[in-house]
Symmetry: C2
Subunit: 193 residues, 2 copies
């Protein structure tokens, strides 16, 4: 590939990255519906015509934003089954502090509207979080009567709900103490050695 072609690709990937970052920030701030292509292009400093070129439509852009955030969040997750305890739990908990997670709350409010066009996309975000946690839960570590699926919903739910409380009143939520409580309550097979 000649140098000019390489630079064209770099510019394209760079402009895509800038658009995704600008959209993530604006969706978090104003919500999905309230944000226009013009807002996003202006913030990214890129012509608005390039948005359909990169993403097809606004839902395609949302998908790119959600995928991108998901990657950031999932980086904090441990990679092997049975690896939830110990330092990995610290990583999972540290996701709560990511500025990006505010976006999840803003979008959630739109998702609970009747006939929300972004429901399916958001559902995929939750599903991906559950899938990632689920893959790391050995069924044999759970107490009788507890399915790995239900345990996963509960653990992902705890992270979402602790996050919500911390966003509203950080001074009322001692994340360190909550982490210790999760660790103490985990079934023995998932607890730190």
């Amino acid at each position: 590939m000649d140098r000019m072609a390489t630079r064209r690709i770099e510019r394209t990937q760079e402009s895509r990255r800038l658009l995704v970052a600008a959209a993530a920030e604006l969706f978090a701030e104003k919500g999905y519906r309230q944000t226009s292509f013009i807002d996003i292009a202006d913030k990214a400093g890129i012509s608005r015509g390039s948005i359909p070129w990169h993403f097809g439509n606004k839902l395609g852009l949302l998908e790119a934003v959600v995928d991108d955030q998901l990657q950031t969040v999932l980086t904090g997750f441990p990679s092997s089954p049975g690896e939830l305890p110990g330092d990995s739990l610290d990583q999972v908990m540290s996701f709560i502090r990511l500025p990006a997670t505010r976006l999840f709350i803003t979008l959630l409010a739109e998702v609970v509207e009747v006939d929300s066009p972004i429901r399916e996309h958001y559902a995929r975000l939750h599903a991906a979080l559950r899938q990632t946690v689920r893959a790391r839960i050995p069924a044999e570590a759970l107490p009788p009567g507890t399915t790995p699926e239900a345990f996963t919903v509960l653990l992902v739910g705890a992270i979402i709900g602790v996050h919500a409380q911390w966003r509203v009143a950080p001074e009322a939520v001692d994340l360190e103490a909550v982490r210790a409580a999760i660790r103490a309550l985990l079934p023995a097979g998932l607890r730190q050695p």
Copy 2:
């Protein structure tokens, strides 16, 4: 008191109740900021001049709405310390199905905005939920290293976060199985006999 005075009071309390119900529905649907006194009065079928008379201002109305919702939610909570397990847990879980709880998600999105005027009011909602749960957790039932405060944040968080997942994709969340998982993971002193 004569009959006309009694009827005036009834009408006043009834109009207050209608205004709170209309506001709760509109806040859940459109958010706090997007809802005007005109919308609320029209929906309640009551003159808009009566809103400041009853509630002072819009924040006063929000406070009345949150108090009202809180009463509905807290009705599901057990009333004595150490009473979380068993049927009481069923009641706590059943709060997830209340239509009213959608309001909490819509308002939460506004609360995470910079300089949100309703943050303090919303923080009181979370604080009241925690206080109610906290009062029912005997410290001696918790595993070492777990504070009642952290356990409370975790349990309230689990309810909030399971609720969020269920709102987004009810078919992906088996509330019955999640309840069984919570019960199995509760420390022995809080578990159903």
